[in-house]
């Protein structure tokens, strides 16, 4: 069965599924219960499940992420919401030093089955403190799983996967995708963690992307098709576990690689993909690897400035043209 849902509705459906089917789940964060969340992700959940299962917290990201960890260690399966991914930085100790390390540092005697749900990326007029794409920080940290759903269906499937995972999972949605609509397989079995997906087949170049930039890559591919360039698009979906096999297999077919993300260039996860491709796909590459990313500036708020900072379909298309003609 498939329903047509907006991305944000798919998130709501996944959370409904989690609270309904797993009695060990609890959901908390800022303004998530009575207000229903600033974007409506938790709309109606408090009314249906009550304060025992979903509740509002003080504006204390460190406090409630630590609480999520302690609750996960002792038997609950918390889903904690960080309203904007930018706010995760105030709680980095709990994420990096605590949540990510407890399993390893106890030789597996504790586990931390929790979800940190957040949304990231720019939107028109949002300033530097509401526009970060912090996925590389989390992907850099052993002990975390990192999910970046690019479609309504993945918003549903990957969030459910994160909930049942016995490892801590950062699920970073894209605020700009919330209004997008698509088919959601609401009766699909819960998928295992991980797995990239070829979302458009092509022969000339591989474009690897995730989150909002997947649709930009697909739009670029449509434009490029009219110019005789046949681009393959890979939605990485999970940065951890990283399905590099799917990337390598695609590069083996196309011989060219472009990596596109919205996060800043330097140290972005695109650098990791490029480094691995250089090491593992060297013989297949017929052109230098290209990276598409925001330049190394904090995100400006003014749309006129954002227009030259935020990578879009045209930025991806330009990079692909240079790569194919190199």
């Amino acid at each position: 069965m498939s329903e047509s849902l907006r991305y944000i509705q798919a998130v709501n459906a996944a959370l409904t599924w989690a609270l309904d089917s797993r009695t060990d789940t609890v959901y908390f964060g800022e303004d998530v219960a009575l207000p229903g969340g600033p974007f409506g992700a938790t709309k109606g959940l408090h009314k249906r499940f009550g304060s025992d299962r979903i509740f509002d917290t003080p504006i204390s990201e460190t406090g409630f992420l630590g609480m999520a960890l302690g609750a996960a260690m002792t038997g609950l399966r918390p889903i904690a919401e960080i309203m904007y991914a930018d706010f995760s930085f105030v709680a980095m100790d709990q994420i990096v030093n605590q949540i990510a390390t407890i399993r390893y540092s106890s030789a597996g005697r504790w586990k931390a089955p929790l979800v940190i749900r957040m949304q990231q990326g720019y939107s028109p007029g949002a300033c530097a403190q509401h526009s970060h794409s912090p996925e590389a920080y989390f992907a850099h940290t052993p002990g975390l799983r990192v999910a970046l759903p690019a479609t309504p269906d993945d918003a549903y499937q990957m969030l459910r996967t994160a909930v049942v995972s016995d490892d801590p999972v950062v699920v970073a949605e894209a605020r700009m995708l919330y209004p997008t609509r698509g088919p959601v397989r609401t009766d699909a079995p819960v998928e295992p963690v991980g797995g990239a997906r070829v979302v458009r087949s092509g022969t000339d170049v591989t474009v690897v992307s995730w989150s909002r930039m997947v649709s930009a890559a697909l739009d670029a591919a449509t434009t490029l098709a009219g110019e005789g360039i046949d681009a393959e698009v890979v939605d990485l979906r999970w940065l951890n576990p990283l399905d590099f096999d799917t990337v390598a297999a695609s590069v083996a077919r196309t011989g060219r690689l472009v990596v596109a993300h919205e996060a800043n260039l330097t140290g972005g996860f695109g650098a990791e993909i490029a480094a691995r491709a250089a090491a593992e796909c060297f013989a297949d590459l017929r052109a230098p690897i290209a990276r598409v990313a925001a330049p190394d500036v904090p995100m400006p708020a003014a749309p006129a400035l954002q227009a030259v900072v935020v990578p879009e379909a045209a930025t991806v298309a330009d990079a692909v043209r240079r790569t194919v003609r190199a």
């Binding site: 003080p58 609480m67 302690g70 540092s105 016995d166």
Partner: protein
């Protein structure tokens, strides 16, 4: 429970720390160690108020809490020796060890970070109706960390069964706490969270027990968190290599008259002294047996270094 049992447990902690210091000096302990000599009455008095299933979270100065909660001595020594201990397989060592089997959520080497985590253990107790409480110990310096502030307010508004024990040894690592706060007693801050706060003699296990038991009862009946500030003194440095130049002359000598074991010894008559001597001998033997057993634990297999990152 009572005097002989408390004395035995406090002596076990003291002897453990002393033996650990000797092992460190002998090169058998690879990392830094933070000792609780002089503060033994606090974990002993507090843990006497707990029952099975109650979670305890401590700091890097938490060996005493682990021992008071019944964590195996051999496991503790082996873990600190970097061996493949039954506790954490050598991955945690002195400052970050834990033991789910003894409900010991563990130490933490980030100051204050255990308080939000302990709040989570309290959330589980509340939501599952287990009747358990969550006790978390921090030092005086941790009261200046934002994580403690956030967690206390969070636990307060959720009425969680949390008991915060502040071990005020008057030093915030290597600086006097009186230079770092503008309140006389840290328990005064409890009012800012709408919580009860008490100050007790942290060198008296009965006083600690009374205060923690009251807080635990309150937590169990659903009335929310409490703060207990236990006044004490560190007989040793902040960490094993601390020369303590910052401490005034005579301070440690004076503290030795007030520390919990000396206090019992000073007040003891001849009969009790003989019993305490016997306990000391038994504790010494127990500690030596644990050290011997720990030395027999193998070092972790390097081939396992990448294990346990994920399920």
């Amino acid at each position: 429970m009572g005097l002989p049992d408390d004395y035995r447990l406090m002596a076990r902690i003291r002897r453990f720390e002393e033996r650990l210091t000797a092992l460190k000096d002998a090169g058998e302990i690879p990392g830094s160690i933070h000792l609780c000599n002089g503060q033994e009455a606090i974990p002993v008095g507090a843990c006497r108020a707990l029952r099975d299933g109650d979670h305890v979270t401590a700091t890097y100065r938490g060996h005493g809490w682990a021992i008071a909660r019944g964590v195996d001595l051999t496991g503790l020594f082996a873990e600190m020796m970097g061996r493949d201990s039954a506790l954490c397989g050598g991955r945690a060592a002195s400052p970050y060890l834990s033991d789910p089997g003894r409900w010991f959520v563990g130490e933490n080497s980030i100051v204050g970070a255990g308080v939000p985590i302990a709040t989570g253990a309290a959330l589980t107790a509340q939501r599952t109706g287990s009747g358990a409480v969550s006790v978390v110990s921090i030092g005086d310096g941790a009261m200046n960390q934002g994580n403690v502030h956030e967690a206390l307010n969070l636990a307060a508004v959720l009425d969680l069964p949390l008991v915060l024990v502040v071990e005020n040894n008057v030093y915030s690592e290597m600086s006097r706490i009186s230079d770092m706060v503008r309140v006389k007693q840290l328990a005064e801050r409890a009012a800012g969270y709408g919580l009860p706060g008490r100050v007790v003699d942290g060198n008296d296990p009965d006083a600690v027990y009374d205060a923690v038991a009251e807080a635990v009862d309150r937590a169990r009946e659903g009335s929310g968190p409490s703060i207990v500030e236990a006044m004490t003194e560190r007989l040793v440095g902040h960490y094993s290599g601390d020369a303590q130049h910052y401490r005034p002359a005579g301070e440690i000598t004076a503290a030795r008259q007030r520390e919990p074991l000396a206090r019992i010894r000073t007040a003891a008559d001849a009969d009790l002294t003989a019993r305490l001597d016997a306990i000391d001998a038994e504790v010494d033997a127990e500690i030596e047996a644990a050290v011997t057993a720990a030395r027999a634990v193998p070092h972790p297999d390097p081939a396992t270094a990448r294990e346990h990152v994920y399920v």
